[in-house]
């Protein structure tokens, strides 16, 4: 397999995962805001915080309201972290690797892109936005299903899984980071009252609510959710599970050098997190660190397999 193709498939998967994540995040956030009473200090700005793009947003918009923030996150093709930018980048990557994927894979992504481009203007309207996001989510799921059902689980497939899992682990840790921020001590009682609703929406944002209920058999509480999303071994969006997938792929790839060792250490790091013993502030430090370690791992993957230009 060409190094160039490995790199493009990896990014294809990352960008598609990002597209799906943004769509789900905005969707869930809309629902969350509908549940919370007026006046609670939580708004659309949190979405900008998750993506660490406060500065870029401030350069383009003066008011952080729903209209501006959804446009920025979904439809702004000059912001590289937006849904449409991620989707365009995914399309460029698959356009140059379509010979490695099942026939329909390219059509799937191309159709999704054409749909998004055509309907970008509708996202400022709430009802239309729901329809838009649902279609994007469905298309992403179709793509994932198509590959898992019809593509040989070969090296190209492994690079797709690598990209998807890194992006996913990164997003899960970002969302948990935000939750910790919201619940840190300085927050008012009013938010705390709605803590369960917040955690429920965190689970929804990662499509993990149902799985949580089946697994934990308990009412929703912060510690359990954190544990579940960090360490559960069966939930595909948990950080621990993402790392297991990474390890599984890496072990089967040629020339993997010291990468398995790096991942085993990362796995131990995540396992050692004890949410009951840490303050919110410590937890934020741990999650930050986790994101850095994932960044380092990405660099090693790139050094090892991608075309060095």
């Amino acid at each position: 397999m060409l190094s160039r193709s490995a790199e493009r498939l990896y990014w294809l998967a990352r960008y598609l995962e990002r597209t799906e994540n943004i769509a789900r995040l905005v969707n869930v956030h809309m629902n969350l805001l509908m549940d919370l009473p007026k006046g609670v200090e939580m708004g659309w700005r949190q979405l900008i915080l998750i993506n660490a793009s406060q500065e870029e947003f401030a350069q383009k918009y003066t008011i952080a309201n729903e209209r501006n923030i959804t446009r920025f996150l979904l439809a702004d093709n000059t912001y590289s972290g937006s849904l449409i930018s991620s989707l365009s980048a995914a399309r460029e990557n698959i356009r140059t690797t379509r010979e490695l994927l099942p026939d329909e894979a390219w059509e799937q992504v191309n159709e999704m892109y054409l749909f998004a481009k055509k309907n970008l203007d509708t996202v400022s309207n709430r009802r239309q936005r729901v329809l838009f996001l649902n279609e994007i989510l469905r298309s992403c799921q179709r793509f994932t299903g198509l590959l898992s059902g019809y593509m040989s689980h070969n090296h190209p497939y492994r690079f797709i899984r690598l990209g998807r899992s890194i992006e996913r682990a990164d997003m899960t840790s970002r969302i948990l980071d935000l939750a910790s921020l919201l619940l840190s001590e300085s927050r008012s009682e009013e938010v705390r009252q709605y803590e369960a609703i917040l955690w429920m929406n965190i689970l929804k944002a990662l499509n993990a609510l149902l799985m949580y209920r089946q697994q934990m058999h308990s009412r929703i509480n912060g510690d359990d959710v954190l544990n579940f999303l960090l360490q559960d071994e069966d939930l595909p969006s948990s950080v621990g599970c993402c790392i297991s997938v990474l390890l599984d792929c890496i072990n089967k790839l040629p020339n993997n050098d010291d990468l398995p060792q790096t991942l085993i250490e990362l796995q131990a790091y995540v396992k050692a997190i004890d949410t009951r013993q840490t303050t919110q502030k410590q937890l934020r430090g741990i999650l930050d660190n986790l994101q850095n370690k994932l960044g380092d791992f990405h660099n090693k993957v790139a050094d090892n397999w991608f075309l060095s230009v």
């Binding site: 060409l2 160039r4 379509r98 059509e107």
Partner: protein, 483 residues
């Protein structure tokens, strides 16, 4: 009910589907009857369905413009063009004959040059050809075949005879559109394809892979093939990616490849370097290897010519094959067929005046307003003069251009190329068309059943190139029963 055939005028050209305004040809009878039975709205619906399919399948080509490169949807006309299988069998034979002779000629040019020594062609034509590569002298590609993939342009004149307009032996494109056109037609007219016995075309990728495998330097092992593309900004990138996918080859760009000291070609993979046996290259000779050809080329691979000459890698088409893709050399093809094969040409050439020949030049200059003048080495329909359609000023300007460089120009009578009904604003109107079949030659020779029919969508226009407002149609070779 108003028929979509209303006021269909067959013009002054041969129409492929209709013998008169009211009468369909027997080969297109079923199709015409069917079209007649559809309401205008039905036709519109199918046209829209086809356009949607093209956008969703992402069938595109890139147009270069000052504002940057634009990816355009492939313009497609849903009404198929029909040819009787009985006629096709003869054309097929003619195409095989022609490519066989052309390959013998190219081998001869880079070998002993017997054709020239026998006085059949002046040596200057070769020595002055832009596409003659002296680096190729003495090389012997497998099966003695240089042009493995050929796209030959055919046109039918008023007299109903199919002429060869040109042989594209460098990097002919269009075959992916031929294949995709059929996929779309199957979606748009599924009922028709069931009733009419249309020869299938989707075995092309299989034959392409067979041909590429048959030229691999080492015939004992499984061979590794790659399609070498100039990259995403090339107008035919869609096709490069499509073909690589269809034959299960690696799609590579120049910097994916490296030639080592052992004169073998390797690609950079996740496992390290991996050897390549056959390269289907879609890059012109000029850019293929900066060591030998243009030193500023960033698209090619340094050392590729060394590897090819050492016999460690096969290139399709072979470098230098373009020497026979020259409109001056074209004029000699009938003679080549007689000389090398001892046969009479099955497919005729369009009569061609060579401006390098003083007598013929005089004739051309005198009759410029009636002739089509073409540069010997351009493709894509650029830099030519269509006398009857040109202004007096354009004719005079062209006169100077020809006089400056007569070797580089040829002239042909303006053919009244055939038409086919084409959907224009909900009505059928005749539009001029040509046909590009694709011929593969390696160990064996294969011709596509039909080819890519290109259509000049502008009324009266004779230019079918997609870069200049042309579109395409599905081509149906129809088995009428009986032998």
């Amino acid at each position: 009910m108003k028929s979509i055939w209303n006021n269909y005028k067959t013009d002054n050209a041969y129409d492929e589907l209709m013998c008169s305004e009211f009468q369909s040809r027997s080969v297109s009878h079923h199709l015409c009857q069917y079209l007649d039975s559809l309401k205008k709205e039905d036709i519109d619906k199918r046209k829209i369905a086809a356009e949607l399919a093209i956008i969703e399948m992402g069938i595109s080509f890139t147009v270069y413009s000052e504002e940057g490169n634009i990816d355009r949807a492939w313009p497609f006309d849903i009404i198929p063009r029909t040819i009787d299988a009985k006629e096709w069998r003869i054309i097929e034979k003619g195409l095989k004959q022609r490519l066989t002779a052309l390959n013998l000629f190219i081998s001869d040019v880079y070998g002993e040059q017997a054709f020239i020594k026998a006085g059949k062609m002046p040596a200057e034509i070769i020595t002055s050809s832009k596409n003659f590569r002296k680096e190729c002298i003495g090389v012997k590609p497998r099966h003695n075949v240089w042009a493995n993939i050929c796209g030959t342009d055919l046109v039918r004149d008023k007299d109903g005879i199919m002429y060869v307009l040109e042989d594209n032996l460098r990097v002919p494109s269009g075959v992916s559109y031929m294949l995709e056109n059929r996929v779309i037609t199957k979606r748009v007219f599924p009922e028709l394809l069931q009733d009419i016995d249309v020869l299938p075309i989707d075995d092309y990728p299989t034959h392409l892979l067979d041909m590429l495998s048959s030229i691999a330097p080492n015939q004992t092992d499984k061979c590794t093939c790659a399609v070498l593309t100039p990259g995403i900004y090339n107008s035919a990138y869609f096709e490069h990616a499509y073909l690589a996918q269809q034959i299960g080859a690696q799609l590579v760009e120049g910097n994916d490849l490296v030639v080592n000291d052992d004169n073998c070609v390797y690609m950079r993979t996740i496992k390290g370097l991996e050897k390549i046996d056959v390269i289907y290259r879609r890059i012109d000779d000029d850019f293929l290897d900066p060591e030998v050809f243009r030193p500023d080329s960033t698209l090619g691979v340094r050392g590729l010519m060394r590897a090819w000459k050492a016999g460690n890698v096969a290139l399709a088409n072979a470098p230098g094959a373009g020497v026979a893709d020259d409109k001056v050399v074209y004029a000699y093809v009938p003679e080549m067929i007689r000389y090398y094969l001892n046969e009479e040409p099955i497919l005729p050439n369009v009569p061609t005046y060579l401006c390098s020949n003083p007598d013929e030049l005089a004739y051309v200059l005198e009759h410029l307003a009636e002739l089509v003048v073409k540069p010997a080495n351009e493709s894509g329909g650029y830099g030519m003069l269509v006398g009857p359609h040109a202004t007096l000023k354009e004719v005079e300007e062209f006169r100077k251009i020809i006089q400056k460089d007569p070797r580089n120009y040829i002239a042909q009578p303006t053919l009244s190329i055939s038409t086919a009904p084409t959907l224009c604003k909900g009505k059928l109107e005749p539009r001029h068309i040509d046909l590009r079949p694709f011929i593969l030659q390696g160990e064996k020779t294969f011709v596509t059943a039909g080819g890519l029919t290109r259509v000049a969508l502008k009324k009266g226009s004779l230019v079918v190139n997609s870069s200049q407002g042309g579109g395409s149609k599905d081509t149906w070779i129809i088995n009428m029963g009986g032998s």
